[in-house]
Amino acid sequence: MKNNLLKFGLLVLLAVFTFHSCSDDEQVISPKSVDSIKITIEDKIDNEELNNKIGQDLLKIRQAFQINTTNHKGENYQKKTENDSISIEDIEINIEAFNVIENENGKASYTFEVDFPLNNLDSQEIINLHFYYDENNQLKRQLIKYELSNEELQTVIENQSFDGFWDRISYSNLDDLETTPNSEKITAARSSDPCSCKSKKSTVKWKTPYSNNSGYGGYSSGTGGSGGQTPFSVIPISLQKLWGIAPASAYYPGPNYVGPTCNCNYTIPVRYFSVGDLTIPNTNSNSTPTPFNRRYFYYFPELKNKITTYYNQVYVSYINSYMTSTQTTLEDHNNKQRFITQFFKFLYKLRTENYSAFNYLANNPQKTVAVFNFLAENNSFNAYEFAKSTIDILSLPVITSNNKIDYAEEILRLTNHLKSFGNIEDEIYADYIQSLIPEFNNMTINEVRAIYGHVKTTCNNLTIKYLKEIITPIVTDLVIPVITYALFEATAGTAVKLLQKIPLPLVLRGARLNNLILKTTELGNPGFGNARLIPNSTVAKAEALFASLTKDAISVVPAANNPAITVAHMGNGMKIILRPISQTVPSAVRVIEYQNFNTLLGVDSFSLKFIP
């Protein structure tokens, strides 16, 4: 899996390089210089010498960046350390993903991220450990510090330039580490420290080679940090910068320079992120966000795992799919952080504006996860509005009123919500249901309640489905529960109204009519042969259903030689027939027969036999 991440990262980097090597008309550098630099991201150290050095250097770095947990105010030291989860042991060198860059001469340099336990907070720094071979083929290394926030680093990546940030790059040779804390030359290794009880001072001397164009002019030979040479060659992601545009003092190769022949030890900032780097905003927007790992998810415990899963899904462009990875890129991290922040702010706002909806979510973990997934995939203002409306609808309690008006209002609310989906199938369904409302006066309260129940169920199911994926519902699927209710449960008068009101758009010849016909062949009980038996039937019910099914017929005429048979011609030889029955089913009242719908039904003839 790590390899997938590495390939992904490599692809991104190569894409960046390719873009710039092709797009810059002012580029004066020989193309071979571009092609001759090879960057890979790897997760396994094959170089034994390097491996040993890393182990040694880790100890050295930990020592250099020692965290002083001494209680400056005289408080109990033991107590503090118990509460403090941070120790020098938390400093690690990330060997799960590191950069290998081969220069023009094929010599490799290696760059590792140094992980600090606090870098998930207000980190403004990236510290890398850079290994390279000098001209005597000796393995050298130095620490490189980029004093850049995540956002600034992303700006660098997007601009493909360190312009404006050159003075934020500094280095330190590990061999030169001093142990003189509090010296004027010593700076804080990490600029932020949220805990006032400990001071995290390092003994690392940082040198800033690119500030004020002083100290490190000329072209780097990569021999390491002494004298007037740069200790390393940062590859600004734009190669043109590499070859001397800015800062001139750092990279300018001279007016007669014709191409790269240097022994550069290139590096670029290496920074990977894990879910622990996320922060969760607090209700009070002025307070510092809480690190993800320290956050207690009181209302939504399920979000802990959900966010972890979400964070660890990394998009890999070359396979156009998501894969699981515990580490991700800055851009991906920033995108996810932005979403997480926005999502929690959405929840906080929901709690303020509509507590019952918020409470509904808190009590329905699956819905919370569905909303989370939806917003993660549809991160826009409209999506949040839709989610808000969705939660509002889902949180509506089932009403138990004896007043038909209450149901009518609720049905209007639900169906209008469906209409907001902007889907024609939903609109047809909503229009159909709304057309029934004027008939409520002639229905019993139980029938009105039943219709409301169907609408409520349909609306909730659809809403949840929409949250999960972009689907196109089939309107026939939506109306079948109402038709079924009409045929089997409603009183005759109500049933006829429900069937008669089936709108024309729902029975247009083609997909919709076919779907509806198909659904009707599942109604009732199986009969012998190609038939379904519809019990509790009346002639009026059969005729009303037939009339609705054939609203878009080419013609509806009596059979030529048997006027008691009504034939609706539906095109291509297909017919829907309404007729009495020849007493083969005792007392059957009517038959609706589908003739020549072979493609749809697989048989020449299929009958719906309406029996009392």
Partner: protein
């Protein structure tokens, strides 16, 4: 030349009194059992089964206006004339669909009631199971039970 044994499990659905309603439906049933059958063969087989059912007094053909007057009267034709009539119509027809308006049938009361007494009802769809468990030899049962 296709021949059929109407009492075989493949075809014995024609004896279910709540299934087939007309000559058209009988033809549809037989075509379902012989998907690629030519129209001439289909006509022949349909007529063969139809004759068996009529000659054994299992069904009768209704007057053509039965749907209108709602009386299930027997058509006023002898069996021979009826068969002759059907044959003539078949010879000039291009599709069994043309028969939809004609030759609606009703299973004789003795037959349907006899089966109902054995437990058959409109919801009986496992016909072979019913025959095996309740009737046994259907051909023999018909011989024994049909009006003498």
């Amino acid at each position: 030349m296709i021949t059929i044994n109407v009492f075989s499990t493949k075809y014995n659905g024609v004896f279910h009194p709540f299934g087939i309603e007309s000559l058209y439906h009988l033809a549809v049933y037989i075509r379902e059992k012989n998907i690629d059958i030519e129209l001439d063969d289909l006509n022949t087989l349909t007529l063969e089964v139809f004759q068996y059912l009529i000659n054994n007094n299992i069904i009768y053909v209704l007057e053509n206006n039965w749907m209108k007057n709602k009386e299930l009267n027997k058509i006023k034709l002898s069996n021979n004339d009826l068969i002759k009539n059907i044959k003539e119509k078949m010879s000039s027809s291009k599709s069994m669909d043309e028969f939809y308006d004609f030759y609606w049938i009703k299973y004789q009361n003795w037959y349907r009631e006899g089966l109902e007494n054995k437990g058959l009802n409109v919801y009986t769809i496992k016909w072979n199971e019913f025959i095996n468990e309740r009737i046994g030899d259907l051909e023999k049962w018909i011989e024994e039970n049909k009006p003498k």
